[in-house]
Symmetry: C2
Subunit: 261 residues, 2 copies
Amino acid sequence: MTAQDDQLDAVGVNADQRSAAGAERPIPDATVARLAVYLRALSGLVETGIATVSSESLAAAAGVNSAKLRKDLSYLGSYGVRGVGYDVALLLEQIRATLGLNEDRAVALIGVGHLGQALAGYAGFATRGFQIAALFDADPAVVGSQLRGLRVLHVDLLEQVVRAERVAIAVIAVPAAGAQDVCNRLVAAGVTSILNFAPVVLAVPAHVDVRKVDLAAEMQILSFHDSRKSARAEDAQARFSDEQPFRPGSGDASVSMAAAK
Amino acid sequence: MTAQDDQLDAVGVNADQRSAAGAERPIPDATVARLAVYLRALSGLVETGIATVSSESLAAAAGVNSAKLRKDLSYLGSYGVRGVGYDVALLLEQIRATLGLNEDRAVALIGVGHLGQALAGYAGFATRGFQIAALFDADPAVVGSQLRGLRVLHVDLLEQVVRAERVAIAVIAVPAAGAQDVCNRLVAAGVTSILNFAPVVLAVPAHVDVRKVDLAAEMQILSFHDSRKSARAEDAQARFSDEQPFRPGSGDASVSMAAAK
DNA sequence: GTATGTGAAATGTTTCACAGCC
DNA sequence: GGCTGTGAAACATTTCACATAC
């Protein structure tokens, strides 16, 4: 990455990491990307009331193999019990702590078109430690309207509000043409983490961390694999039609991931 | 990240690749993910009328370093001219061909909520070799309505239409609860490439390629890096405020990517 | 007995640095 | 002289396989 995630992934992390308690191994980027996936799988287990889980079954639920999962978790410390497995609640808490999800971060969302509204309405947003501090748009028709209990502000107020609300993370959901400008203003106002949905490569100073979600790129990657498949699959194709469906969490279905990469 | 991923990235590609002309090196997943980025950068150059570009400037526009770009392009063959650079139109065409964007692929979009509508309206969709063949939803209030010149069909017709239209790629934009079911039906109908926006890990047979776009995961990865930064940055913070903005395409700004991965 | 945690090997990716060509 | 193309080195990630602990 996505690979994808993704993806081959983030950048701009300080080389030395002095963490709360003592000298720990640095956590690989690839592992960080998967921790988020494990978190989701663990939340599912909590709801079903399962208290303990083996690396084997958690890995299956997350779509990775168990050796990778164990290696990933080993970077957080030793929170499993040999011969038994992992305590779901404890592991969940450790991952949350590692990802910094306990102190909650103010998020600004710029652009409330269809995409922006989809993002604002995203359930996992509020529940998973992020709270939307402000919504912005440039369109006078939208500014002033109410969305999810927040008034949409004019983008001219961006710097002012970002500073006042101490926004840590900004999500850019504006058209391509406006994205770099919005980005510049965010950076100038002190934002150092940006999630970009606009189809442009943003130029930022080295201390700013940008992650990009790019529909066209994802489609093109699928297209690449698809074209390689279709050449060879011309005949095999028929065999896979009307095959029995798969049950979620069943066995070792190999599923690809975005990740960041 | 990438991935990001990239997204650390896709899966399910056949080991041996017998391509149109002779034995070529297999293309790394990480490279495929970036080809899509180069494609965008090249499109930008075409519009400004630039006919030739060096690896150095194309790399800057794409947010990678030039050695990586040259290595990536070398997997496609030798389409550059030493001492000169790459012909923009030729390179663009070669990348398009490699990604399989010349034969155009039918895409089905399942779920036309805010996200689905944002995706349907996405400009790069129509223009970049993908055409939406069908829209589906389960909500009777939406079924039958018109969107981008297409009638929204009831999801019950999914198998039938997917087969009739020879849909190659499906985009899942339904709520989490419905995603696995939709996925099963797509697979049964013969779809082997899926882009999933629902926040669940889909279980699929090994021959099906799933890429996932996960807002919560992206946010959490940013959160991780942000929390590492904020500990150390408490004082440095002030220095970066009100810094001069950056110009797009300027120099070597290191930008992260999702990817593919 | 069972399942974690982890060195070591294998594999994949990025960067270096320079030969080769225009 | 300038810029591509690419082996070889450096680095990162995944997988293996087993010692270790319950």
